[in-house]
Amino acid sequence: MTLLYLAIIIWLLPLLTFIIQIFFGNRLPRKGDWVVVGAMFIDLALALVIFGNVIYKYNPDFRAVLQFDWISLGGQDFPLGFVLDNVTAVMLVVVTLVSALIFLYSIGYMKGDPLYSRYFAYLSFFAFSMLGVVLFENLFGIYICWELVGLSSYLLIGFWFEKDSASDAGKKAFITNRVGDFGMFLGMLIVFSALGTFSLEGIKNGVESGQLSGTLLTAAGILFFMGAVGKSAQFPLHVWLPDAMEGPTPVSALIHAATMVAAGVYLIVRIVFMLTPVSTVVIAYIGGFTAFFAATIALTQNDIKRILAYSTVSQLGYMMLALGTGSYAAGLFHLMTHAFFKALLFLGSGSIIYAMHHALHAVNNDADPQNINNMGGLRRKMKVTFWTYLVATLAISGVPFTSGFISKDAILAGTLSFAGRYPQHFLLPFFGFAAAGITAFYMFRLVFKTFFGEFKISEAREHIHESGKIMTVPLVGFAVFCFFAFYTAGNNSISLSSPGEGWFYDLIKPPEQTAMTAAEMPFSEEIYEQEELPAEPGASHSYAIFLSLLIVGAGIVVSYRTYISKTISAETWAAMYPRLYRGMYNKWYIDEFYHATVIKLIFVWSALCRWFDNVIIDGIVNGSARITVIFSWFEGKFDNIVIDGIVNGIANATQILGWFTRQFQTGRIQNYLVGFLIGIFVIIIFRMM
């Protein structure tokens, strides 16, 4: 329990710094950045204490829960609860470590911004919300923090709100997330109406006892996944994530690396016991398709941050794919490794953009500092950035001895074994491997275009400088965590390629499957337990290693030949398949598709209304007018005197009536009140009689 209280302190500390920062930030020395960053490092230290305790205990079933009553409305209690188990402990370390290093980096990146103190306030608020998502044991609490995460991401993405594009991106992120959250809310309503509780423990018991089952359970699982689709930017709600690059680069790192997008994956991890076979397949297909689809878009982009954004979408697809195909621990594991190398990639890009921006500013060139076509040859100028960037690229591509290799490999092996068991799902491993190859290609394309060759804007070359210590130190810090050894160290040894013996897999056990029988979906990490199941799954692991190495190697080689030795011409390829290229370059027209469907629909509807108005209503009006003309022609033929008499009589009557009613419409409230009172008298006297 002590550890749990410690975890709650970790959660509340950013809230405290947020309050301090938002109210007093501008009056503190250095605008209060040291408060926020210092608190985050204290958080990190506390998280490490918890983590150390967990490692020391080495108990896969470790779980501490604190329940308390929050509010009682109309006889219905709404308790809240916090939970601390191994998953939470790992997530705490990931979130606090990434946040701490990014906060530190932000000091350098945001230097001189007019809203400097507010930026740090938002950062702490974001950390507070994210830690809440991690810590709550209760769907209600998770939902609260989930929405707070959405809010703080809105604030951070639209931080430079004087730019229209930034505020639009913030709104887009918020609204897109709302679409997903709506699904999650419906899922919560289903769960609550069926089980009457929001507690995960209670839901688990309810699912086990069969109070919630069948289609309803599947629907609930898919609706929760919808929330995760929004937050984790899965297809088709991924559109906000690339636009979110309008925010400051550390924010992109924070949102894309460890925190906001990970919330969706984490949510699925939390509710994994609710998933039925149907919902897992849905998750797997959406995840796999997203992985592949986003990777193809990333191939052709030129904006450095946009490439990384699509790569994030793709990697999140991987995690969802892993969760959908039953590699529970692998998905979570990839979440952790991805957090570090993606944060590193973003911060490295931030460093590059910072340098480019200053260089271009120095020579008054208004070229885009984020376009990789304007870069090149930076490796000689920015050594630290280059080497750390290279490490992260190797990791994301899945080159051996990096963290990305072991985690991605575990996922691919999981999909292979899944497809081996269910051959009809052969597309899933295909998506996974194809995405791996494409990832290797475009990540190396990015590195080659940025760091190799010659700098494109020659007059600004002299002004490129390495960023300051406050920015490079976090880079190095993250780079350290891209090596495999941190993850595969087990009780006795360090494994080279397989995390199976590492602490992670010992600590993170998949939950017992309650929503489906073991025969339907073996939800275990059996690919690493070769003694027990020697035949197929273990073998698929070694296939996976070879296959993925092959594909990744091919991707890297093609990339080298295209962009360094120029033996393959990218332009030729683009010219050969122009439709394909344009589709990729324009993100498969998803935004346009939304414009064409949602907005067009409204246009079509209004056109329909206009047509109705023009043809039918006007036709009726005109027709009646014509009839009236004919009728009055006949009337005119009749006696003028009679008609005049009637008309005048009606006019006079109307005038008299109008004069009479006008006496009551004085516009004075007091006259109306008298009338009202008289009315009451009449009613009461009438009732009394």
């Binding site: 409305l73 004075r668 007091q670 006259n671 008298v674 009172l677 008289i678 008298f681 009461i684």
Partner: protein
């Protein structure tokens, strides 16, 4: 008629008499100050109904708050340099008829109705009233309490929004 009845009657007369002054006074400031005495009389009646806490709140909020607001309102909406700020009446005949009718109606209802009065011992509840009010507000009446606080906030913001100068 015991002594307490005399005091009660005194407060009742203050309340009603001042309220009548509010209605019939020609000068609006006189009406406002008469309102003060009327509100004070109501507070006195609360004391007789064993609601001390409410009496204190009545004085703080009505006299210290609303009445001062009204006075400021009077002083800000007319030419304040003269003390002859008058307030005219309209539709006096209708008003008199309606008012008399209303009073007779309500009086009839009060006299006709058979109010059930339980024979219970009041106990000590009125001597720990402020504690009781505090406890009730935090338990049974929590929701109305919160809604009231939101209402106050909304009124505050709304009033400020409406009154701010649009020149800026």
């Amino acid at each position: 008629m015991s002594g307490f009845d005399i005091v009660f009657l005194f407060f009742a007369v203050i309340t009603i008499g001042s309220a009548a002054l509010v209605v019939f006074s020609k000068k609006i400031t006189h009406a406002a100050f008469a309102l003060m005495f009327s509100l004070f009389g109501v507070a006195g009646l609360y004391v007789f109904l064993s609601a001390d806490f409410l009496a204190a709140v009545q004085i703080i909020i009505y006299i210290g708050g609303i009445l001062v607001l009204l006075l400021f309102g009077v002083l800000l909406t007319v030419k304040i340099s003269s003390i002859t700020i008058t307030t005219q009446s309209t539709q006096r005949i209708w008003g008199a008829i309606a008012g008399t009718g209303l009073f007779i109606l309500v009086l009839t209802i009060i006299i006709r109705a058979d109010w059930f009065i339980p024979e219970k011992d009041p106990g000590d509840i009125y001597f720990t009233q402020s504690r009781q009010i505090g406890e009730r507000l935090m338990t049974e009446y929590l929701l109305p309490f919160e809604i009231a606080s939101v209402l106050l906030l909304a009124a505050l913001i709304g009033a400020m929004f409406m009154i701010r100068s649009e020149d800026k």
